[in-house]
């Protein structure tokens, strides 16, 4: 079965079409946009919260998006085991809703960072990563607030439950401060919830799918998710 991906569109989303294009046109899965004011997930099997600056990122990133009508449905979908994938601003929204633990601070450098980076795949046992055959993947980041932070108790619990999915690393999987683009705790780039059905990551896999871009590692994440529905 081909899964249907629902891409939520908030005012200020700017990677919504990138996600739709990669999932539908490049990878050939079904996809549909879901407007933030709707209260219907239209039978989608996977929900993508895309990158961008929802509601202008006013107050805090994702702070206002969490009260949009569609999010109420997304939260109950996730609580019932539905697959929810937040990318960049979508990750920040998942943190604000509490579906994922922690918060995002401004990059340590105070600069917006836009470049290709390597991610070490820390947990290959999830719906999102089971199809990744490599130790590291190359994907772009583009954010000003990707400095992940949480308290020590939560961090230890996340480590224990293998909830850290991606960390910033060298091309051969060496994780150190040198490869950390934003100051995030433990080089964290992506995490999941305990149940492993909700994942958020700062890098943009949807911008590394189309071969024309000469980087396709991001496709492995979407293919992993789709494989789950076979």
């Amino acid at each position: 079965m081909k899964p249907k991906f629902g891409v939520v569109v908030f005012p200020g989303s700017n990677c919504d079409y990138d996600a739709y294009y990669s999932v539908k046109k490049v990878l050939g899965f079904n996809a549909e946009f879901l407007w933030h004011k709707e209260k219907d997930l239209k039978g989608c099997d996977v929900i993508i919260l895309p990158g961008g600056f929802s509601y202008g990122d006013y107050l805090r990133t994702g702070a206002i998006a969490k009260f949009s009508p569609i999010l109420e449905k997304v939260v109950s979908f996730a609580e019932n085991g539905g697959i929810v994938f937040g990318i960049c601003n979508g990750f920040q929204i998942l943190l604000e809703t509490g579906l994922l633990p922690g918060i995002m601070l401004q990059n340590e450098s105070l600069k917006f960072v836009c470049k290709d980076i390597y991610l070490k795949v820390e947990n290959k046992g999830t719906v999102f990563t089971s199809g990744i055959k490599k130790e590291t993947i190359k994907i772009p980041i583009k954010h000003g607030e990707g400095n992940y932070y949480t308290d020590e108790v939560t961090l230890n619990e996340m480590i224990k439950n293998h909830q850290i999915i991606f960390t910033y690393s060298s091309s051969d999987g060496h994780v150190s401060k040198k490869y950390n683009p934003n100051g995030s705790l433990k080089n964290i780039a992506g995490i999941s919830n305990k149940r492993m059905n909700v994942m958020g990551m700062m890098p943009h896999p949807e911008n590394a799918c189309d071969p024309i871009l000469r980087k396709t590692d991001g496709a492995m994440i979407f293919k992993s998710i789709a494989k789950h529905f076979n």
């Binding site: 107050l59 009260f67 922690g102 932070y149």
Partner: protein, 94 residues
Amino acid sequence: MFKATVIVKRRPKILDPQGKAVEQGAKLLGFNNVNNTRIGKYIEFFVETDDLKAAEKEVKEYSEKLLSNPIMEDFEFTLVEVSSPKTEVKIARE
């Protein structure tokens, strides 16, 4: 009616990159006694009720649910009784 002012501050242990950067500027200007600069948010609005307890409850909930994120921020607020928003604006202009 009440006028509410809410101040949202980052919790002391949470890194404040903006405060840190501003403090670098302070040192460049020679303000050598300045330290531990922290940047927060100041938010003001009116609450249309004459019941102080109800106003307090509403402002507290608004601050908890939307204006601040309890994982990284603390907030404090004050309420001042005013007759209408218009008179308040006038006073501010004078």
